[in-house]
């Protein structure tokens, strides 16, 4: 296991999510582990998908291999794990700030089990008003819902608590 200051971790951590280009896979909590084999020097990167059907995962895997090759580690292996299941709670504070700055309302707490987390209100990331309404539970990608601000009338995406 590599520390977060190691060049191999930094290389993998530089990969951005192709559907949320303001976030890196480190911000998202998708990047789980980077390990270097002591004998062969081969790097293994462990990631976990946001959603099982997320079409971005193939691109992310390719981008990780390319980023490590560029950092002097060709032939990196990317391993995908499914447990523990990814949660929006894993998005870092930096990630949440980047989302808000990009006009995407960050998720509330997801909790652990049970039914769909109750979304009480989502603040408009554009004007800050709390007077907003959900237009659609499912947005432009699997992880977003579509909202509208009643104050500034602008539509915006909200990353659903998951």
């Amino acid at each position: 296991m590599t520390t977060r200051t190691d060049p191999t971790w930094r290389a993998a951590a530089s990969v951005v999510d192709p559907e949320l280009r303001v976030l890196t896979i480190e911000d998202l909590g998708v990047l789980r582990e980077v390990a270097t084999d002591r004998d062969s020097g081969r790097v293994t990167v462990t990631i976990t998908p946001t959603y099982t059907g997320c079409p971005a995962m193939d691109v992310i895997r390719d981008d990780i291999r390319a980023a490590l090759a560029a950092a002097g580690h060709p032939g990196a292996e990317v391993v995908t794990v499914y447990a523990p299941a990814w949660s929006t709670d894993w998005i870092s504070e930096t990630g949440r700030a980047k989302l808000a700055a990009a006009g995407i309302a960050p998720p509330g707490p997801a909790g652990t089990t049970g039914p769909v987390p109750l979304t009480l209100s989502v603040r408009c990331p554009l004007c800050g008003a709390a007077d907003t309404e959900q237009v659609s539970r499912f947005g432009s990608t699997a992880c977003k819902s579509l909202w509208r601000c009643r104050a500034c009338r602008e539509p915006f995406d909200h990353l659903r608590a998951f």
């Binding site: 299941a85 499912f138 947005g139």
Partner: protein, 248 residues
């Protein structure tokens, strides 16, 4: 039960049952893309289909590795015939009108949610991990179908009539989902209480009658399907069979 105590063929049939439910449900939902009543619903159904497809891919890949005959997810999805599919009849039924699609989604997700939740604690770690992902997604599917069932059932006279007709039409097919199977990692027979606890309040809120239990068509789990599955597979498989190994 320890998974290693169960014959491989039995475990394979269980995995294919889970995988085929998800795969066939995904294919049916995909038929709504560009045809849903509103753009937002188009996007929602496509997202739900993608969740089901994602679970199907993981389960089929696992089934192929367990079988050990060199079949990957594509071989299992595209090169099996209808008699080899293990999905329940409910998911292969035609979409009908939007109310029928929502009744199907309500019943499937109200079955899959307690199923995946229980599988999360099973001794097969790989299956438990897949179920742990799918459980979170299915909670949203159930929520979505519940909202629409209430909106249509407690809506206009016409939407109420259609939603009731849809529930009546699909209800008999829910029984097959709970056919007892003590060798399964989670015996489906034990899930019906949780299913009813999720579905009955939704029907009541939607001012819909909960149909009486009676006719209970089955056969999907042993490969005896309705004619609808053959047409669905023909469309899903034609490209792969006409151009083996085609990529884009």
């Amino acid at each position: 039960m320890n998974p290693t105590d169960v014959p491989t063929q039995t475990r394979l049939d269980h995995l294919l049952g889970l995988a085929d439910d998800a795969l066939v449900a995904a294919q049916r939902l995909g038929e709504w893309v560009a045809a849903a009543p509103e753009l937002e619903e188009d996007v929602a159904l496509a997202n739900i289909a993608l969740d089901q497809l994602g679970a199907a891919r993981l389960l089929l890949t696992y089934a192929g590795e367990l079988e050990g005959a060199g079949r990957d997810e594509d071989a299992l999805a595209y090169l099996r015939d209808d008699r080899e599919f293990r999905n329940a009849l409910l998911v292969e039924l035609p979409n009908g009108d939007f109310a029928v699609t929502m009744a199907k989604l309500l019943f499937v997700s109200a079955y899959q949610l307690p199923l995946y939740t229980a599988l999360t604690g099973c001794t097969d770690e790989r299956l438990a991990a897949i179920a742990g992902k799918a459980r979170k997604e299915v909670a949203y599917h159930l929520d979505h179908a519940s909202l629409w069932t209430v909106r249509l059932g407690d809506g206009t006279e016409e939407s109420h009539r259609r939603m009731q007709a849809a529930v009546d039409e699909i209800w008999p097919y829910t029984h097959e989902l709970f056919t007892p199977d003590p060798a399964a990692p989670v015996d489906p027979a034990g899930l019906r209480d949780a299913f009813l606890a999720a579905v009955e309040p939704v029907l009541a809120t939607a001012t819909l009658d909960r149909p009486a239990d009676g006719w209970a068509p089955s056969g999907g789990r042993s490969g005896l399907h309705t004619e609808h599955l053959s047409y669905l597979l023909a469309e899903m498989q034609v490209l792969h069979r006409a151009h083996p190994g085609a990529r884009w």
